[in-house]
């Protein structure tokens, strides 16, 4: 796979499809606003996702203020608090990470990395973004309708989500559901593009087993999303009907604040199954792209090929497939059929094996490498640490009987922030530091980057590590305030206050990151072609940043994306489109 023998040149097949005809924008508006260029769409997606992510971040501060200093901030009412956690969770998982990884990184990198001129259906791709924007706007609007946004938790469990004891049960929940439905529709349009582009629009010589792992991660995540979102969509539709039409899909006979309601016979557990049939793949939807991207970051900056590439690909595919049969590990104490516990605990722990292999392969890539401590590498290292930490706490929760005392405590909150809130977000940052030179032609400022990295990594770790121990004490999640108990020590509150202070610090430190982004746009060091000396195709365009259509002539691929440190070659890397007979070997041209 690695050092392609000259004989293989012969086997690069001819082009199967004619080169596409590009749509050329006629005006400023069609070029930058209603653009059909995947790269512009990617930037639109990313900017929107990050903007809404900042809203999520601010919400997390408000939550932390309340948790750290429960008496102090009387402008935060319990109902506000529940709205904050709900919208915070929803924004972070779906509107920020899913959109950023797939819509943002996916749109930018897929065509470039597979050697295509654009996505296969640029028009649909464009519509995808605008629908997504609509979903985001609806989400924001929901804060301003009477009753405010929904406070049902991001899991939106009925009956509670649509009954009056929950904030936002008047209008907020409906807007939330509609916004989700819109997100799914928009995502489906984009997602079909990503999948078909990877499957059907690769350049000559680009076999699936030569794809950079970034693409494998994004591709698999997109497939998961296309198959998992239907469950959420259906659940959302049915809940909307329960609320608006008075149907009883999820509503058994019940009493709302003493009033017997006209519902009967429905199954609240059904919604939970639907939600988690979506929800578990969803967490891998945000994890797999991170896995992929981090593999590339590690390989490039350790100047070493990724270790066990085939294993990495199969692990991604395997994790993706398995993620559809583990969903009810979120429901161990939901009152579902008890024997499910055996099934789901087993599948859940099995999924740890491919994940563990990925972790090993990352570390084995570092091993015997030539590691440069660039910013992307720092973030990648931090990812490994936080991900392993969060992953192993997943093993606690996955082992059904251990989950019983820990479920719905701060331990769960700590688990998923470490594994989802911190780890993939570090990869997002790493990815931005890595590809910013490609997108803008300039490097980000190193000093500001270092500061941002250390504060974010150490800070985020410090925020969430102690929360596990609150979970062991038995502090429940989604508590506006802990109040009096006879078993939780006073010191738990001090810990909470400490965590809040750290969280605010980390949050404020993000300002440095944004300053860096804008400052470097104008003043960053010029990057030139391929500043990191990477092998994959996105750095092999004629222009940096790549223009509409990406490549002048479509590249032909002769090798995998990880030919770093090939013995015999002069350089320590050989880009994918360098034919074997062009590799300079010191002994002269072959």
């Amino acid at each position: 796979m690695a050092y392609v023998a000259p004989a293989e040149v012969e086997q690069i097949p001819p082009a199967e499809v004619e080169d596409v005809e590009l749509y050329h924008a006629k005006s400023w508006v069609t070029k930058y606003v209603f653009s059909q260029d995947a790269k512009v769409i990617a930037i639109q997606y990313s900017a929107t996702a990050i903007a809404i992510g900042l809203v999520g971040l601010v919400l997390s501060w408000l939550m932390r203020l309340q948790l750290g200093f429960p008496e102090l901030f009387d402008f935060i009412e319990p109902s506000d608090y529940y709205q904050f956690i709900t919208v915070h969770g929803m924004i972070m998982v779906i509107y920020l990470l899913t959109a950023l990884f797939l819509g943002g990184f996916g749109n930018y990198l897929i065509p470039l990395m597979v050697g295509a001129r654009d996505m296969v259906f640029p028009y649909v791709n464009m519509v995808s973004y605008w629908v997504y924007l609509g979903a985001v706007i609806l989400l924001i609007v929901s804060f301003f309708v009477p009753g405010g946004a929904t406070g049902a938790g991001w899991t939106l469990y009925p009956p509670q989500a649509i009954l009056s004891g929950t904030p936002g049960s008047e209008g907020g929940i409906i807007l939330m559901l509609v916004s989700l439905a819109l997100f799914i529709i928009g995502f489906t349009m984009g997602g079909l593009n990503y999948v078909v582009t990877v499957l059907q629009a690769r350049t000559r010589g680009m076999t699936l087993m030569r794809l950079p792992l970034t693409i494998w991660g994004i591709f698999t995540a997109t497939v998961l999303a296309l198959l998992a979102f239907p469950a959420l969509l259906v659940g959302a539709v049915m809940m909307t009907f329960d609320k608006l039409l008075g149907t009883s899909f999820f509503m058994p006979a019940l009493v709302e604040m003493g009033v017997y309601l006209d519902y009967g016979g429905g199954s609240p557990l059904l919604f939970q199954h639907l939600f988690w049939f979506f929800g578990h793949p969803e967490v891998y939807i945000v994890a797999l792209p991170a896995f992929g991207i981090v593999s590339d970051l590690i390989s490039v900056h350790a100047r070493r090929h990724i270790f066990g590439y085939r294993m990495m690909v199969w692990a991604i595919v395997g994790i993706g497939a398995l993620s559809f049969v583990v969903w009810a590990h979120h429901m161990y104490v939901s009152g579902m059929n008890p024997w499910f516990g055996f099934f789901f605990a087993t599948t859940t722990l099995i999924i740890a094996v491919p994940t563990a292999l990925k972790v090993y392969n990352w570390t084995l890539t570092l091993w015997k490498g030539n590691i440069r401590f660039t910013l992307p590498m720092l973030f990648a290292l931090a990812f490994i640490v936080t991900f392993v930490n969060g992953g192993i706490t997943g093993l606690f929760l996955g082992n059904v009987v251990v989950d019983v005392p820990l479920s719905d405590t701060m331990f769960v909150v700590a688990h998923f922030h470490m594994v989802m809130g911190v780890a993939p977000l570090l990869v997002v940052f790493g990815g931005i530091y890595h590809w910013f030179p490609l997108i803008t032609g300039r490097m980000l400022h190193e000093g500001m980057g270092q500061f941002h990295f250390w504060v974010t990594f150490i800070g985020a770790y410090t925020i969430f590590l102690p929360l596990h121990y609150l979970g062991f004490l038995g502090v429940p999640r989604r508590y506006f305030e802990m109040g009096e108990t006879n078993f939780i020590p006073e010191s738990a509150q001090d810990l909470n206050a400490f965590v809040t202070v750290v969280a605010l610090t980390v949050g404020v430190a993000q300002i440095v990151f944004f300053i860096n982004l804008f400052w470097s746009l104008k003043n960053g060091k010029l990057a030139g072609h391929n500043p990191w000396k990477a092998c994959s195709l996105e750095w092999r365009t004629a222009h940096v940043p790549p223009r509409h259509g990406n490549f002048d002539d479509l590249p032909v691929v002769y090798r995998w994306a990880y030919d770093y440190g090939v013995p015999g070659a002069d350089e320590d890397f050989i880009p994918q489109d360098v034919p074997p007979d062009r590799v300079s070997t010191g002994k002269g041209e072959v």
Binding site: V17, E18, H273, F277, V325, M336, N337, F340, F343
Partner: protein, 113 residues
């Protein structure tokens, strides 16, 4: 192989087969309708319904949607993910049964507790 193939990649088959399948679909639909008309009950009914359903679905997918002539790479890519659905359906039958049982015991007073 013909070099034009890269451009014309469609499926061309003699019309005859479509008419045959068409007729067969009519027959199968009639049969499944008759299952109801003659009031078959219990397992016989369910088996027949499923049998005719799967036959119809199979014909539509394989002939009308041309799966029969597609390369296996596509066929499997479309078919395999449905396994996840089957697992889901299987588990939900158990879940629903369990709910039904509990409701019977605690709300309707059937059986011991």
């Amino acid at each position: 192989m013909a070099h034009a193939e890269a451009h014309v990649e469609g499926q061309q088959h003699p019309l005859g087969i479509y008419f045959k399948i068409w007729a067969l679909l009519f027959v199968l639909s009639t049969l499944s309708y008759l299952v109801d008309y003659y009031n078959f009950e219990g397992y016989l009914r369910w088996t027949l319904i499923l049998l005719f359903m799967f036959m119809k679905a199979g014909l539509i997918i394989s002939v009308f949607m041309h799966m029969l002539w597609e390369r296996l790479a596509l066929v499997y890519a479309i078919a395999l993910p449905t396994i996840a659905l089957m697992v889901f359906v299987f588990l939900m039958t158990n879940e629903a049964d369990n709910t039904f049982l509990l409701r019977g015991i605690y709300f309707l007073g059937l059986g011991g507790s």
